[in-house]
């Protein structure tokens, strides 16, 4: 019996993610980064997807008996991931013409379908999030034809509706064959640019899909990926992860220095299938990026913005957030604690509608030189992800099945929005949960149990409870109360 109870900060991050998932369509407030057109690493797609990953990790490792707290939020986030505001950048980026790919601009046409070629930096997140949902909740929700449909129509321009219908199966099949066509080196993000990082979510998606279908595509793709990258090496001469290979010339593009986000993002994901390698290099790599501060705090300085063609390159690198996420996956508690302490001291932790986040700040440092700059991806998502993760947390989602009988076990099947769940686990067949009604958000104040007979014995706050039909429990006002439900 772990008896673990989430901290107020952990609950605050979960509440913030739930709040963001409930924003009205096209309300992206608190999520807007410095860049335009969703081009860079702070785009909505990344924020939405890593909230999904973070929720899956939390469900798997911390609140396994509370599917009702996670599944609806994940579906709302995936709904947002499908919205045109998230993927319309591809219509432009698909044409090529980036600074280091100018030679492609005349060859490529405008492509509206955001997953049909390249763009693994989007398609793999749709695919892996859908597979993660269905594997995590024993669901076929995204197997439904058309359940992953990308559509856009405007009254003002563009002609006919653009509609591209996929589902869990067809999208996985499509990405698999794109991977095959590259010789397993990986599918490009923007044209011609094959990033190691962005092919990791595809591998994760294949694995989760294999779990649903009994297939072995993840093993096949990993074996091919290993062979393909052997020509280039996963690490560069300085021991840091190679960021990308250009598809046509097969040349590794050197990383800008320093690039904490490259190592951190790649390491946090690649640990799923390549644990020994990632851990062998972690401590040396991360030491190159950390800056010590007072009181055990740690920060991650970012390189100054580059200037290319007379322009400043605007990008949310999310260096500090990614290093925190990486440290959490590595189980490096000292580094994680130092980074979170820095954020709590100099990055204005803010409670809003019951949720905790670190609001965007574009000012690089304070008067004492302490990093204050933080991007929405870090402040909304990555610091919360790091705080909720456990050592090898994403790896556990990738590697481990739920224990036998999990889906039939007693559980919180439905959790109203205003119920905070800080504990939910089954110990010796008995459901133990800690619940609190949170009046900062609307809701009916109930949880609905499942996996129990109607004759189940329930105690709430130490008092025997007679439940309403359908195993609905009213959570009282006031302090958190413990629910114990025995079959």
């Amino acid at each position: 019996m772990s008896g673990e109870v989430l901290t107020a900060e952990q609950l605050g991050h979960l509440r913030h993610w739930d709040n963001l998932s409930r924003r009205l369509p096209n309300d992206w407030s608190q999520m807007q980064g410095k860049g335009v057109s969703q081009d860079d690493f702070g785009g909505y797609r990344f924020q939405l997807a890593y909230m999904v990953y973070g929720l899956a990790i939390t469900h798997r490792h911390r609140l396994p008996a509370a599917p009702g707290m996670f599944a609806p939020t994940i579906r709302r986030l995936i709904d947002k991931l499908l919205m045109p505001e998230v993927w319309l950048y591809w219509r432009d980026v698909s044409r090529g013409g980036s600074v280091f790919n100018a030679h492609l601009s005349g060859r490529l046409g405008e492509e509206w379908d955001p997953v049909v070629r390249d763009n693994i930096m989007y398609s793999a997140y749709v695919q892996s999030c859908a597979a993660m949902h269905d594997a995590m909740f024993d669901s076929d929700h995204y197997a439904e034809p058309g359940s992953l449909t990308f559509r856009h129509w405007s009254f003002f321009w563009g002609g006919e509706e653009k509609r591209f219908a996929y589902d869990r199966e067809s999208l996985t099949e499509h990405l698999y064959w794109l991977m095959v066509e590259t010789g397993y080196l990986g599918v490009a993000c923007e044209p011609n640019c094959v990033f190691q990082i962005c092919n990791q979510p595809a591998i994760i998606g294949f694995r989760l899909h294999d779990r649903i279908t009994g297939g072995s595509r993840a093993d096949e793709v990993v074996a091919g990926y290993e062979r393909a990258w052997a020509d280039f090496g996963r690490l560069d001469a300085s021991g840091h992860y190679n960021m990308m290979v250009t598809e046509d010339s097969r040349v590794v593009r050197p990383n800008e220095r320093p690039s904490p986000w490259v190592d951190a993002w790649c390491g946090a994901l690649m640990n799923t299938w390549n644990r020994d390698f990632v851990r062998r290099h972690y401590h040396r790599q991360v030491a190159d990026f950390l800056e010590t501060g007072p009181g055990g705090t740690l920060s991650v300085p970012s390189a100054p913005a580059r200037h290319v063609m007379g322009q400043e390159v605007v990008s949310d690198t999310c260096d500090l957030g990614w290093v925190a996420a990486w440290a959490s996956e590595m189980g490096d508690e000292q580094t994680l604690a130092g980074l979170l302490a820095h954020a709590d001291t100099w990055m204005s932790p803010t409670w809003f509608d019951g949720g905790l986040y670190y609001p965007r700040n574009d000012t690089h440092t304070d008067a004492d030189g302490r990093r204050t700059e933080i991007e929405p991806m870090s402040g909304n998502v990555l610091l919360g992800y790091a705080r909720l993760n456990v050592a090898d947390g994403l790896r556990g989602v990738y590697q481990d099945q739920w224990p036998e009988g999990h889906f039939e076990a007693p559980r919180l099947e439905v959790v109203d929005r205003d119920i905070e769940v800080s504990r939910a686990e089954v110990v010796d067949g008995v459901l133990h949960a800690r619940l609190r009604r949170d009046r900062t958000v609307p809701g009916d104040g109930t949880v609905t149990l499942a996996g129990l007979p109607t004759s189940a014995r329930l105690r709430l706050g130490g008092t025997e409870l007679t439940v309403r039909d359908g195993l609905v429990v009213d959570v009282p006002e006031g302090h958190a109360v413990d629910l114990v439900a025995a079959p």
């Binding site: 099949e173 064959w177 095959v180 010789g183 397993y184 072995s216 096949e220 074996a223």
Partner: protein
Amino acid sequence: MTAPPIRARYCLVDHHGTPVTEASYASRWQLVQFGFTSCKVVCPRALAKLDDALDRLGTDAAAVVPLYVTVDPERDTPQRLKAHLDATHPRFTGLTGTAAQTEAAADAFRVFTRRRDTPDGYDVQHTAITYLLDPSGSPARHWPDTHDAERIAADLTALLR
């Protein structure tokens, strides 16, 4: 497993010099492997595995035409393919053609190929997926090179019956 989303069309010559297409083997199952005769590791392993799988089929193997399609038409002439296969994997028929023809065949099966310079000259990187076309010449299934002979033989047995 569903049929692979490939066009599976080709217009080549076999190692006897006879023009062939996917329709040339109608009424038999086509087991298709891409590769090249100078390949040192991947192809010898793949062809040996397929020989093993076909051996496991016994007399049912007669319903299968094993085909080896080159990704190196510059060196793999019909004569060279025939000599190589007769000596190493005689149940296979080699297919070759012009560079444009073999490239079109690889595209139709979504096979990755890339010529790479080596100290000895060059080699051709390629994916080692095995494809099966049904007696009408349509894609039926595929096996990645991580699947072993036993698995392939079991799948073939189920399909052929």
